[in-house]
Symmetry: C2
Subunit: 147 residues, 2 copies
Amino acid sequence: MAHRPRQCSIADALSIVGERWSLLTLREVFLGVRRFDRIARNTGASRDILAARLSKLVESGLLEKKQYETHPPRYEYVPTETGQALHAVLLSLMDWGDRYITRTDPPTVWAHDCGATLRPVMVCEHCREPLRPAELTVVRVDQPNPE
Amino acid sequence: MAHRPRQCSIADALSIVGERWSLLTLREVFLGVRRFDRIARNTGASRDILAARLSKLVESGLLEKKQYETHPPRYEYVPTETGQALHAVLLSLMDWGDRYITRTDPPTVWAHDCGATLRPVMVCEHCREPLRPAELTVVRVDQPNPE
DNA sequence: AATGGTAAGTTGGAAAATCCAACTTACTGG
DNA sequence: CCAGTAAGTTGGATTTTCCAACTTACCATT
């Protein structure tokens, strides 16, 4: 009866960063590449789509457009706090790719300030144990189709 | 000169789960919804696209098709180990959405077996400290455009 | 002074992906 | 016998994406 999709923060998040090239654009920004041409070449996105994605990321508050040159006006895209918080998402995606998809050695390696090569792990904030899918239970979820 | 995009596990991961509906499909599977019609309704994906996505997820080794009825043949989609490992990605995306996008109370709440309401946190495996973007440095990365 | 390169887009038209409603097959329950 | 459920498939319309070329304006070189 209720043909409404499930309400959920994953869907909300994807409505902002779920389109093609958005996450790769943010990857470049996190790697320090913050100008249009370079982002276009490093991702492979076509210029028109990249322009649209960057505008959306700015409108959505993930990036800020900083002018670094007037005449002609040129901008670079720097992450806001909201944008920076997405770094964790990209790291978990990278980790999954490293482990299960990419055959070779991890192409990208980060170091943590503690001195170690970064291995990102998701833990429960309360007990600090690494999350295992089998140890999770749904407590509350929107149920679009009751019957 | 080199017009090759950057080689990276995030791109590899997105080549499998980056298309529209793939991650929402996996969300449903993790919530225990494993049959075609329900997934279609709960996500809002059109049936033809959903069929294509499910096939791809099966081919890519994230889901397995289990027959639960012959005559007519009916299947359900259950996550493999590779698929289950993506739960962490969805949780980090959910957490980001909860914090920065969704205005209301978190629509979906998970509990951890330790008894606490789940708050997923990304930590450095070595020192166990929560990751802060400012404390990360790139050690190695594919550089598509040298000059 | 003219030429080529860099930079950040924008434009128009072709190609690909997605959407949508209707159809199919084969059971089950009333 | 009819309606409902389930897992898709099909054809055609709509929307996105792709691609190459164009624009504006500066700087470095010849």
